[in-house]
């Protein structure tokens, strides 16, 4: 890491602060200005007296003017206190969000490894098979899987595996139960097409480079040329793809969680939005925005370390 990188990183981190500030103000305003009384979701619609409502509004600070509320929220958030959940009474937003996020992220990371473990070889193979029928056939098979929405694929798979063949149970029985294999495959397989496509394009963009021809003309074995000369250089764009898929891991996958009853963060997001559960929505949005910003910075660092030709601050904004 040269001095240029350090300076660049400082600029990036400094720039991230106003971006996150604007996001937090915008989301705070959208969520608080949206219709729906938080007291409704705490006490149940129409089942309370005005006094009770006033009491709660004072207790949670909903009667304060918006800027005051925002300031209080920001102060707590910067200390790691995400606020209270109005939907689950007496639970803090931390207690609601963090365990669920851990479940979703665990599943997401396993799925990510499978996706790239399959996608990269498929992409390389398709690129090498260019000009034959195998190339479009392979990519389009994965594209077909990608085209089936979860809410169509899952009921059919559940019917086949659980009802017809009786191989799995339908419910969620924890991350260690074999039942979890099906959701993990569903999370990973549809994404293979995207990874394979980019890997294929990336291989094709380096395969005619001079250094590849040099390697071949030196008499190196074809497999050595492909793996050490072509694939290694073609992996560079993968850094962006992997990096950009990281923030999504903390968001979970709504339909997989809904259909398999997984108590993950995507289901909580839907419920929080419908309730509405202010602090939970804000916390989820902010966590995911922060992860996005961090992921982008990590991508830049990774590029600078792996490829010395990359001059930061010029190529990527």
């Amino acid at each position: 890491m040269g001095p240029g990188l350090t300076g660049y990183l400082i600029r990036r981190v400094l720039w991230a602060v106003p971006v996150l500030f604007i996001i937090s103000v915008a989301v705070f305003w959208i969520v608080r200005a949206a219709p729906g009384d938080p007291v409704d979701s705490i006490l149940g619609r129409d089942f309370y007296s005005e006094e009770q409502a006033e009491q709660l509004r004072d207790k949670y600070g909903y009667s304060d003017p918006l800027p005051v509320q925002y300031w209080k929220w920001l102060k707590n958030f910067s200390q790691g206190d995400l606020g209270i959940s109005t939907r689950h009474r007496d639970f803090t937003a931390n207690e609601i969000i963090l365990p669920k996020m851990r479940i979703s992220a665990t599943l997401g990371i396993i799925a990510l490894v499978i996706t790239f473990g399959l996608g990269i070889p498929v992409g390389i193979y398709a690129a090498l098979a260019r000009g034959t029928i195998l190339d479009p056939l392979m990519i389009s098979t994965w594209l077909m899987i990608d085209a089936i929405p979860y809410f169509v694929m899952i009921p059919v798979i559940q019917w086949l595996l659980a009802i017809k063949l009786g191989l799995i149970g339908l419910g969620y029985e924890g991350l260690t139960s074999p039942n979890i294999i099906v959701p993990i495959l569903l999370l990973s397989l549809p994404a293979v097409a995207g990874v394979a496509r980019i890997m294929r394009a990336s291989i094709l963009s380096v395969i005619d480079e001079d250094y590849v021809r040099t390697a071949r003309s030196k008499g190196l074995r074809e497999s050595t040329v492909i793996f050490t000369h072509v694939a290694r250089n073609a992996m560079l764009p993968m850094i962006t793809v992997i990096g950009l898929s990281l923030p999504g891991l903390a968001g979970g996958s709504l339909f997989v969680e809904l259909f398999f009853g997984i108590p993950g963060i995507a289901r909580e997001s839907l419920d929080a939005v419908l309730a509405p559960d202010f602090d939970v929505i804000l916390a989820l949005t902010m966590i995911s925005s922060i992860l996005f910003v961090v992921a982008n910075i990590l991508i830049d660092i990774a590029y600078a370390i792996i490829d010395p030709r990359v001059r930061l601050g010029e190529a990527r904004g």
């Binding site: 971006v19 604007i22 996001i23 959208i30 729906g36 990608d146 085209a147 995507a266 949005t285 995911s288």
Partner: protein, 325 residues
């Protein structure tokens, strides 16, 4: 729901306008892409001419038990749903919903914001460029799913008021106004996240093209900014813009289907693939009445698949180095 984000990951190099004929030849030579194009033509024609193509009134319900959830027959090609409505006719009208929705998002998010802001940012540069790209960065950083759900959920509580107001102010009936309001809500929830990808593609192209001699020549000749944008920059940007859109189409259409599936988009009796599929999507229900899920989902699955294949083929054609082998 990463809308149009996938498109920008393809780092496609700028292709010269002169080669347009060649692309067409290469595209015609790709059998899969041609099949995709043929399917899309059928889908769009069916949707646009829905009243002619449908065999039944898509909203007409049947009370008798035998008429409900009946399988495929010569009378009802795709069978009937829970309320005895003809699924084939509902699918045809759902295609129309998809077409209207994607068209609205393409015009507002794709052409107006994506192309317009991208051209402006790339050609003018300076603070305009910074402002547009930073707003895009902020939007890209937001969790799309939560934001779309939040926006639709927030506005849906106003649907009744808005549609009564709209019906009073115009010649529309309350039901028509309500459908229109729902369309506007889901378009409004999708567009903020749908333009960033295209704008980035267009901007980087415009940045490259504005340095070319013919643009400098036009500037020296005193051509106005709109004229330079329209006559000189736009034609060079167009191919990649179209590729970006076609690669992002499945994602855009998928947003409406997903929201409608959750009951946050287009609701019955108006047909949408989302609400058709939600009727049949359950393992137990599928065991008993598989026709509901199969027939209401296959047309839209092929629609997504066809756009993905077409986008893939176009990327392939535009990647000049990939063609040298």
């Amino acid at each position: 729901m990463a809308i149009a984000e996938s498109a920008e990951l393809f780092q496609v190099e700028h292709a010269r306008p002169r080669e347009q004929r060649r692309w067409l030849r290469v595209l015609l030579g790709k059998k899969l892409a041609m099949c995709a194009l043929a399917y899309l033509a059928v889908f769009y024609l069916a949707g646009i001419f829905a009243p002619l193509v449908a065999t039944h009134d898509p909203t007409k319900t049947e009370i008798s038990v035998e008429a409900r959830l009946a399988g495929s027959s010569s009378e009802h090609w795709f069978g009937t749903d829970r309320l005895g409505r003809d699924i084939y006719s509902r699918v045809v009208y759902a295609a129309r919903t998809t077409i209207i929705f994607t068209f609205a998002v393409l015009i507002t998010g794709g052409v107006f914001l994506g192309l317009g802001l991208g051209l402006l940012a790339g050609y003018r540069g300076g603070w305009i460029d910074t402002a547009i790209m930073r707003v895009g960065e902020i939007l890209a950083g937001l969790p799309t799913l939560i934001m779309m759900l939040a926006i639709t959920a927030a506005f849906r509580t106003h649907i009744n008021n808005l549609s009564f107001d709209l019906a009073d102010a115009t010649w529309l009936s309350v039901d028509e106004a309500r459908t229109l309001v729902k369309f506007v809500i889901i378009v409004g929830a999708t567009v903020p996240f749908a333009w960033v990808g295209s704008a980035r593609i267009v901007r980087s192209q415009a940045l490259a093209i504005r340095e070319l001699p013919y643009v400098t020549a036009a500037e020296a000749a005193g051509a106005s900014t709109p004229r330079i944008l329209a006559r000189h920059i736009f034609p060079g940007v167009l191919p990649l813009f179209v590729v970006g859109l076609s690669a992002g189409m499945a994602g855009i259409a998928g947003a409406e289907v997903g929201l409608s599936f959750l009951g946050l988009g287009i609701d019955p009796p108006t047909s949408s693939f989302g609400n058709l599929i939600s009727e049949g999507a359950g393992a137990r229900f599928f065991e008993q009445f598989p026709h509901v899920l199969i027939f209401s989902s296959l047309p839209v699955i092929f629609f997504f698949f066809a756009w993905n294949l077409l986008g893939d083929a176009l990327v392939d054609i535009l990647e000049p180095r990939a063609n040298q082998r």
